[in-house]
């Protein structure tokens, strides 16, 4: 399936994938993250259940300290 990840086209070799699996697959190892699917916030507790399907627009934001 084809998704958009942080504004870039991405090919995933599965029909769907959970947020947890995507984070692992793409090596997003930061603890502090904000994840949105098609503009809607996905809470941390939903990472194992929220599913990404073909055509979805996914944003993964790394939160880093400083300010």
């Amino acid at each position: 399936m084809k998704i958009t990840l942080n504004n870039n086209p991405e090919e995933i070799s599965a029909e769907n994938i959970t947020v947890s699996a995507l984070l692992k697959l793409k090596n997003f190892t930061f603890k502090m993250l904000i994840v949105k699917i098609n503009g809607t916030l996905v809470k941390k507790t939903e990472y194992d259940t929220a599913t990404i399907i073909d055509g979805d627009d996914v944003m993964v934001l790394h939160l880093i300290s400083g300010g």
Partner: protein
Amino acid sequence: MTTEEITNILSGKKVAIAGCGGLGSNCAVSLCRVGIGTLVIADFDVVSESNLNRQYYFQDQVGQKKVLALTENIRRINPGVRVIAHDTMLTADNIPLLFADCDVIVEAFDQAGQKEILIETVLGQMPGRPLVAGLGMAGWGMNNSIRYQKTDNLHICGDGVSEISPDMPPLAPRVCMVANMQANTVLEILLEKYTSSRKDCESNHD
């Protein structure tokens, strides 16, 4: 638009600033200079000596509550700005209450964990509210790394990668660049509907 027209519009606006450190104090000062009507500021910390390398405070304010020191600095620059100061730690419970009627919210924390709480709370509980976050400004140089990104109502200013560390401290120049990029983004959001010709022009590039 003329300065007067801009000031007239901004005087009716209310902007929240979550955190009064390097990002928040400098962003608040820029927004007070352009005449935002009301600034809602929140922080639980006191001014320390080590803050003065980047935060908009003075030597004689060391030891004072940041929200009180910042209120005083804003008043000295532009007494026409109304400041609502909350000397408190922001949580998922009080953020929607304290910032309920603000036109824009500025995320100006230093710790990633606090940034996460604020962004999650605003996106989750205050959908549609413009949120301007600062991410990645440690170190020095690298002018062109600092950029602006937007997804829906979340606006992000910063390089997105430079995390603070003992070898990569936050320093005034880059922190102020991001703080002022945040203030500039607030203006863009608040003035958007009054500048339709420019908006039409820009929307072609989206």
